[in-house]
Amino acid sequence: MITLIAITALGVFCLIAEIFNLRKALVPVTVLGLLGILGSTLNLYSLGELSSDYNTMIFADNYAKTYSSLFILLTVFLVAMSHDVYKEHQTKISDYVAIKVFLLAGAVAMVSFANLSMYFLGIETLSIALYTLAGSSRLDIKSNEAGMKYFLMGSFASGFILFGICLIYGTFGTFDLKEISEFSGALDKAIWFSIGVSLITIGMLFKIAAVPFHFWAPDVYEGSPSLVTATMSTLAKVVAFAALYKLLAAMNLFPTIQFQNIIVTVSILSMTVGNIMALRQENVKRMLAFSGISHAGFMLMTVLSIANAASNLCYYTYAYALAGMAAFAVIIAVTKNKDNENISHFNGLGRSNPLLAAVLTAALLSMAGIPIFAGFFAKFNLFTQTIQAGYLVVVIAGVINSIISVGYYFKLILAMYTKETQETTQNIPFVYYAVGVISILINLVIGMHPNVITDLLN
C-alpha cells in the first residue's frame, strides 16, 4: 500500500514542481523518488509482509510486489528518457512526467487489487493516462489519430470490462476478490458469471492486443510518439497481463476445458498473425507492435500450465519488457529528429554507433529467444511446462513462430550491419546509452540466473 501512496504523492509533486518552477530538477528528483519506492517495495519482501489495507481494497502479496518492482523499474527508464525527449517542450514536461507517474500508480493498483472496483480504477487510471500520452504530440496528425483511435477502442474495451464486473457482482453480490474466489469455486454457478468473465476476458485481451482484438495496436504504436510507444509496448502490456492472470486465477477459470480451448486458439492465432504481419513491416515501431502481438500469444501460453503459470508469466514479462525497453531506447535515440521510424534509418548503425547497434542487436536476440539472453529461458521454461501440461501442438506452433520471428528481427540487424549509412552522425545523449545498456544487462543477468526472478514469487 505504501508503494501506491508514495507513487501518487510523487505524481502530485511533479504537478506542484511546475508551479514552483522546478522543471530542471523534475526528472532527476522523480527518478530518485521512484528508485526509493523501488527500494522500499523490494524491502517489503525481506519483511515478508502480506498487508491488506483499506477495507480489503488492496492486497500486497508477493505477486503484486514482484510486478510492481518491474513496473517501477520500467517507469524509471521511461522518466529518465523523458528529459531529453521533451527538451523542446519545457513548459509541458511536468505534465508528461506526472502523467507517467500516475500511469504507474494505475499499474500498481492493477496488480495489487483485492476488490474489483479497485481493479477497474487501476485500469482507468492507466488507460486514460495512455490515451492522453498517445495524443500528446499535439501538432502531429498521426499522434492525434493514434490518441483518438486508442481512446475509442480502449473505452469500448473498458465498457466490456465494466459490464463484466457488473454481471459478476450480480451473480455473487460482492466485489471482493477473495469472496468471489470462494464462490466461483462452487460447481453450479449462474450463467451470468460465465458471461461476465467472458466480457472481462475480452476487454483484457483487447488491452494486451491479442488476436482478434489486436487491430488498434499497429496504428496506435506507429502514430504515438516513440516514448509513448515504448510505454505501451513494455509497461502497459505486462501490466495488462499481470492483471488478467490475477483475475482469471482468482476466478478459478484455468482448469475448465472451454477456457483452455479459448486460450489455445487465441495464443496460436496471436503468435501466427503477429509474426506473419511483422515480416512485411518497414516501420520499426509497427514491426515491434506486431512482434508484441506475437509475444502476447506466447505469454498467453503460460496460462496453460497451471502449476507454474505465475512464475513463467512473470519471467517472460521481465524478459520481454527489459528487451523491449532496451530496443526502444535505441529506437528513440536513432529516430529522434526523423519524420518516421523506417528501417532505413538504422542502416549502417553498426559502423556509426557500435554500442547502440550492439544493444539493439542484443535486445532483438533476446526477443527472438537466442541463448544466453533472458528471452531464451522465458521461451524454454514456457515450452517445457506447456509440453508437460500436454499441449504439444501449441508448443510446435510456438517453435515455428520463433523461427519466423527471426526473419524480421534479423531484418533490422542486417540493416545495421550490412547497409551503408547516408546520414550524418548525431550526438546521442548519455541517457539513451544508460537505459539501453542497463536494461540489457539486467536482461542478461536474469538470463544467466533465472531463479532470481522465479524465486521472487515463492
Partner: protein
C-alpha cells in the same frame, strides 16, 4: 585444474582481443589460442594419467540445470581439433587485412569458445546454449567480412541462420521432453531413460533435424555451398573445419545413445541418405566453376561418409568417423587456405581464370598437391585411416553401402585432380604468382605434418578415442 579452464582462456582471449585494438588484435588472438592449445594438451595428459578433470556445478535450480562439463576421449579429441585448428586459422588471417580486426578476431575466439563448450557440455541445456552461441559469431563473421555481392551474401547468411536455428529449436523441444521424463538434463540421466520406441523416434528425428542441417545431410544441405562461398575464408574454415563436426559429434554423443532403438530401426534409411550425399556432393563438385564452391561440395561428400559411419552403430564405424572428422578438419582447412592463397595473388576463385601456377610457385604446388592427395584419402595420410575404417564398417552392415560409399574415393580423386590440373598446371599464367610467404608456409607445413604423421601412426588418436566409443556403444546396446 579442470576443463573449464580452456573455456575460460578462450573467453578471456575473446575479451582481450576485443580490447586490444585493431593493430594487435590478430597477435593477441593467436597468443590466446596457443595458450588454450597448451592448456588442452596438459589437460589431455592429466586425463590420460587418470586425473578427474570433469566439472559439475549446479547452475539453475528450477528447471534443474547444471554447469556440467565432461571430458572423455571423444570430447577431448574434438576439443584438441578445435584448439589446434584455431591458432592455424588465425595465422592464415595474417596475410589479410580485415577492417575492425579486433571485432573480427574476438568473434573468432568467441566462436572457438562456444564450439569447445559444445564438445564438452554434459548437460543438455548447457550443450544447447553453447550450440546456439556458436551460431552468432559465424553469422556476423560471414555477414560483415564476407566477400561478393552484399545482397546475395545477406540472403545466403540469413538462410543459413534460419535453417540452423529452426533445426535446433526442434532439438530444444526434444530436450524439454527428455527433461520432463528424466527430471534432469545431465547426460548420464538422459542415458538412463527408458523411452518407448515411438518416443525415441520423435526424439531421434527432432535431433536429426538439428544435426542434418548442421552437418549437412541431404536434403538439408542447400544453405551450405553459398555460405562457404560468401563467407571470408577464415569463416569458411571455421564452418567446415570445426563447426560441422559439432553436428557429427552430437550424433555420437547425444542422438544415438539417447534414442538407440530409433537409430537401429532407421539405420538403412539414414545410411542411405548419408551416402546419397556422398554421391550427390561428388557429382555436383565435378561441375563447379568456383574453387570455393567445389571445395564446399567435396566437403559435403566427405561428411556424408562420416555421417554414414556414425549411423552404422559399430565400433569401427564410430571410431573411423571420429578419425575422419579430425582428418577432414585438417585437410579442408588446408584446401580452403590454398584457395585463399591463390585469391590473394589473383583475386579470383574462378577456376577458368586460373592455371599455370606451378612453374611460378613450386613450393606452393607441392604442398597443395599433398593436401589434394590427402583429401582423396591416399594411403599414408590420416584421411585414409578414417575413410578406410568407415568403409570397412559399412561393408559389415551391407556390402552395397560400402560400394556406393567407396565412390567418394574414385569420384573424389577425379574432381580433385581435375581441379588441381586446371588450377595449377598448364602453360605459365600471364599474371605473376609469388610463392608462399613464411606465414603461409608454416600453416601448410603444420597441417601436412599432422596429416602424414597420424596417417602413418594413428595409434595415439585411436587410443584416446576408442575407450569412450566403447562406452557409448555399451549405452547404445543397453
Amino acid at each position: 585444474m579442470n576443463v573449464s579452464l580452456i573455456l575460460l582462456i578462450l573467453l578471456l582471449g575473446a575479451l582481450a582481443t576485443f580490447l586490444s585494438g585493431d593493430k594487435f588484435a590478430s597477435k593477441v588472438a593467436l597468443f590466446f589460442s596457443l595458450v588454450a592449445l597448451g592448456c588442452s594438451s596438459v589437460l589431455v595428459n592429466h586425463f590420460l594419467g587418470g586425473v578427474d578433470i570433469n566439472v559439475n556445478n549446479p547452475w539453475i535450480l528450477q528447471p534443474h540445470v547444471s554447469f556440467a562439463l565432461k571430458a572423455d576421449g571423444l570430447s577431448l579429441a574434438m576439443v584438441l581439433l578445435t584448439v589446434s585448428l584455431t591458432p592455424l586459422i588465425i595465422l592464415t588471417g595474417f596475410g589479410n587485412h580485415f577492417e575492425k580486426s579486433k571485432n573480427f578476431y574476438a568473434l573468432v575466439l568467441f566462436m572457438a569458445f562456444a564450439m569447445t563448450g559444445t564438445f564438452l557440455a554434459a548437460d543438455g541445456l548447457l550443450y544447447y546454449i553453447f550450440w546456439e552461441l556458436a551460431l552468432i559469431p559465424i553469422y556476423f563473421i560471414a555477414l560483415i567480412w564476407g566477400n561478393g555481392d552484399a545482397d546475395e551474401r545477406k540472403k545466403a547468411v540469413v538462410k543459413f541462420f534460419i535453417y540452423t536455428l529452426g533445426g535446433s529449436l526442434f532439438m530444444l523441444i526434444a530436450f524439454a521432453y527428455l527433461y520432463i521424463n528424466a527430471g534432469s538434463f545431465l547426460l548420464e540421466d538422459l542415458y538412463k531413460l527408458n523411452l518407448t520406441a515411438t518416443e525415441q523416434t520423435w526424439i531421434f528425428f527432432a535431433f536429426f533435424l538439428a544435426y542434418a542441417i548442421k552437418i549437412p545431410i541431404i536434403p538439408f544441405h542447400t544453405w551450405q555451398a553459398k555460405v562457404y562461398q560468401k563467407a571470408p575464408t577464415i569463416g569458411t574454415m571455421l564452418l567446415s573445419g570445426i563447426m560441422l563436426k559439432m553436428g557429427l559429434y552430437s550424433v555420437i554423443r547425444w542422438q544415438l545413445p539417447i534414442a538407440p532403438l530409433a537409430a537401429k530401426m532407421y539405420m538403412p534409411t539414414l545410411i542411405g541418405l548419408s551416402i546419397a550425399g556422398v554421391i550427390y556432393g561428388s557429382i555436383v563438385a565435378l561441375r563447379q566453376k568456383d574453387l570455393k564452391k567445389l571445395l564446399a561440395y567435396s566437403s559435403l561428400a566427405h561428411v556424408g561418409l562420416i555421417a554414414a559411419g556414425c549411423y552404422t552403430l559399430t565400433a569401427d564405424g564410430l571410431s573411423g568417423a571420429v578419425s575422419q572428422m579430425i582428418a577432414h578438419g585438417f585437410v579442408i582447412v588446408g584446401l580452403f587456405f590454398a584457395a585463399e592463397v591463390i585469391f590473394r595473388r589473383f583475386g579470383t576463385y574462378k577456376i577458368e581464370d586460373l592455371g599455370g601456377i606451378r612453374p611460378q610457385a613450386s613450393k606452393f604446388t607441392s604442398m597443395f598437391m599433398i593436401l589434394v592427395l590427402a583429401s582423396v584419402a591416399l594411403p599414408g595420410t590420416f584421411n585414409f585411416v578414417g575413410e578406410f575404417t568407415v568403409l570397412y564398417s559399412l561393408s559389415q552392415v551391407n556390402i552395397w553401402f560400402a560400394i556406393f560409399g567407396g565412390t567418394t574415393i574414385i569420384l573424389g580423386a577425379y574432381y580433385m585432380l581435375k581441379m588441381f590440373q586446371n588450377v595449377m598446371l598448364g602453360e605459365t599464367n600471364t599474371k605473376v604468382f609469388a610463392d608462399v610467404t613464411i606465414n603461409e608456409t608454416i600453416v601448410f607445413v603444420i597441417l601436412i605434418a599432422f596429416l602424414l604423421f597420424y596417417g602413418l601412426y594413428p595409434k595415439p588418436i585411436v587410443d584416446l578415442v576408442n575407450p569412450s566409443i566403447t562406452e557409448i556403444l555399451k549405452t547404445i546396446n543397453r
